[in-house]
């Protein structure tokens, strides 16, 4: 299996917190491929390791062992500054509690990743307004988060995750703070706007109502992937612990990840 089309390649990734008697094995040998153009969900009970895996994939936590390649780069090999730059340029985040900055308007919140990248304020905010308009939120661009409903806040958070055209979107329980209908609407929007042939989306969720939006579902328990469902969105479910064949022919120092062409 080559790197073509693979956004995230994980082999035998482990994560251990603490030392000695207080050790906690949060991840126990994770094997997982996440492809461009697909929406992958990590599901499982609390404490199963979903959020830890998401943190490791995004470079917010270091893996203890194993091989992890994200968008052709090995987070473990990147210096702190490089890792920050890598996240800023390539990753988009959607958080459970939205984590919008209360003092900023919706458009300004959307502009934050651009501002972090050095874009001028006026230009960044204008881009934020434009992006909100594409999500049908133009009329709320100047509202503060406190003036927005939960669904609207999550749409602003989604816009913030997408505005800088990242290659990997990670969402942590994006619908858990929303009612069923709003959650569904947010997922509709996320599927329509975030999933592109040159981008991968990872969602951590408990919410079984949104499983049908997934191309791939990784069921986790006790730090392991217990089963992998493929192509659920298309109705052709392939259940079971999917074999992840072969090792990536990793060409060090950096791997080239080629986004799928959409075919």
């Amino acid at each position: 299996m080559g790197t073509d089309g693979i956004a995230v390649f994980s082999r035998d990734v482990t994560k251990v917190f603490g030392r000695g008697d207080t050790q906690v094995h949060a991840l126990r040998g994770i094997d997982l491929n996440i492809r461009f153009g697909e929406l992958t969900m990590l599901v499982g009970p609390s404490g199963s390791g979903k959020t830890t895996l998401l943190s490791v994939i995004t470079g917010l936590l270091d893996a203890t062992s194993g091989e992890l390649v994200v968008l052709g780069r090995r987070p473990a090999k990147l210096a702190q500054e490089e890792l920050i730059l890598f996240r800023r340029e390539n990753l988009g985040f959607v958080f459970q509690q939205f984590n919008l900055i209360p003092a900023l308007t919706a458009a300004e919140n959307v502009a934050v990743p651009l501002l972090a990248g050095g874009t001028k304020r006026q230009q960044a905010v204008q881009r934020g307004e434009e992006f909100l308009a594409t999500l049908g939120m133009a009329h709320r661009a100047h509202a503060l988060p406190s003036e927005l409903s939960g669904g609207e806040q999550q749409r602003v958070a989604l816009a913030r995750a997408l505005v800088h055209e990242p290659k990997l979107i990670v969402c942590d329980e994006p619908t858990s703070a929303l009612d069923g209908r709003t959650g569904h609407a947010v997922m509709d929007l996320l599927s329509a706007t975030a999933v592109r042939p040159d981008r991968a989306v990872i969602i951590v969720t408990h919410d079984s109502r949104i499983f049908d939006f997934a191309d791939q579902i990784a069921h986790m328990d006790d730090g392991r992937i217990t089963s992998l469902e493929q192509n659920r969105k298309n109705g052709s479910l392939a259940n079971g612990l999917a074999p992840i064949s072969g090792a990536l022919p990793l060409g060090d120092p950096e791997l080239r990840a080629s986004p799928a062409t959409g075919d």
Binding site: T51, L54, S55, T58, L60, L61, E81, I84, L85, R87, R88, E89, L91, F93, F95, Q96, Q97, N99, I101, P102, A103, L104, E108, V112, P113, L115, A116, G117, R121, R160, D172, E173, S176, V204
Partner: protein, 379 residues
């Protein structure tokens, strides 16, 4: 990201204003207490500073400061004049006496007897009359505060009389003499006249005022006078410092003001520091999200420092504005006259505020720097 930092700062107006007012209050308290302390502690040297003609004060070797004097013998004047490096030397009487007003009210007054021939030591800041009017019999110049005490409600005018030692004192001028420590009225008269206004002692020569020859440093001449005469000689600056240190060591004033200054420092450090820290902690989630998104630690430190600087700068400016207004208002009030707001105090408080907000932001920054960005995934 600067505008993000500023918007985060002002979003919670209650906290924002409480931060500014805490720093403004502490700045005002510090400015107020330190300036008044300096003003009061320089009052004992008022009469020294008001003598602008002479650079050297010669006195009894055991003199501690200007308000307690043991008279010299008359011939000491000539001994000083004979010292090489002394351009000229004149006598000065400084003592206290009791003056009585026309309505019977009396007060202890500071009596300055200046050299009859040269009027060296006479007040230079005159509000009414002239120092040359001291030539008149029984003439004296009184300071404004003294005039207002003895003649309450009367407009400033010359020609009024007081009584000292059963003798008439004719007011020929009103001076703007620096306020003395004891707040006594200050009277200037001729040396020969002063002898009549106070009870006669065998010796009345309080000080010899001297001027060094051109180009000779006063300190060098002082040492020469001391070596030649055995008297104590101090430059005006040294003698002013003597008075300052005497009151510093022998009164409770520094303790009193020190306590207030300490309270101001504690209030000024703890309240803004704690509020700023709480403000940062409440925003930890936002900072965590920013770190996850890819904002560098350096950028976040910059944001926090900017917030601290804005808060500190605003509070400091407000505090200094209130202080300036306070001292402008009290400058012409008789009991507080002459107490000013020195720029050095203003600058020092600026440094203190900078340290306070710096300290507060350092503690806050530490919390943010050790924050794992992964915290944003913990709902």
């Amino acid at each position: 990201m600067n505008f993000v930092a500023l918007k985060m700062l002002v979003a919670d107006r209650a906290k924002y204003f409480s931060l500014i007012f805490a720093i403004a209050f502490a700045s005002f308290l510090l400015a107020n207490q330190i300036s008044i302390f300096i003003g009061i502690m320089t009052r004992p040297s008022s009469q020294i500073r008001d003598v602008v003609d002479a650079d050297i004060w010669v006195m009894d070797p055991q003199t501690l400061y200007s308000d307690e004097v043991y008279a010299l013998r008359d011939y000491d004047l000539y001994r000083v004049r004979s010292v090489p490096g002394v351009q000229w030397a004149v006598p000065l009487y400084k003592g206290t006496g009791r003056a009585k007003g026309p309505d019977g009210r009396f007060r202890t007054v500071i009596l300055m007897g200046v050299d009859d021939a040269t009027l060296v030591g006479a007040p230079r800041k005159m509000l009414m009359g002239s120092i040359y009017d001291l030539d008149q019999p029984d003439a004296a110049i009184i300071d404004k505060a003294g005039f207002l005490y003895f003649f309450p409600g009367d407009p400033l005018q010359v020609g009024k009389t007081l009584q000292m030692n059963e003798r008439r004192v004719l007011i020929v001028g009103i001076s703007d003499a620096s306020a003395p420590f004891q707040s006594f009225p200050v009277l200037h008269t001729r040396y020969s006249q002063a002898l009549g206004f106070v009870g006669r002692e065998r010796n009345l020569l309080s000080f010899v005022l001297a001027k060094p020859a051109a180009g000779v440093p006063p300190a060098k001449v002082c040492r020469a006078i001391e070596a030649t005469t055995g008297l104590r000689a101090r430059s005006a600056a040294e003698f002013s410092l003597d008075a300052f240190l005497f009151y510093l060591r022998n009164t409770g004033i520094p303790v009193n003001f020190g306590i207030t200054v300490m309270i101001a420092l504690i209030v000024g450090t703890v309240i803004p520091g704690q509020t700023f820290y709480i403000f940062t902690v409440e925003n930890l989630k936002q900072f965590g999200a920013l770190k996850a998104i890819g904002v560098t630690n350096r950028r976040i430190v910059g944001m926090i420092l900017l917030q601290a600087l804005v808060v500190g700068g605003s509070g400091y400016a407000l505090g200094m504005g209130i202080s300036a207004a306070f001292f402008a208002r009290t400058l012409n009030y008789m009991p507080t006259r002459g107490i000013i707001f020195p720029w050095q105090v203003m600058a020092s408080i600026g440094v203190v505020v900078l340290l306070v907000v710096g300290l507060a932001s350092l503690i806050s920054i530490r919390r943010v720097l050790v924050l794992e960005p992964a915290v944003v995934f913990r709902g």
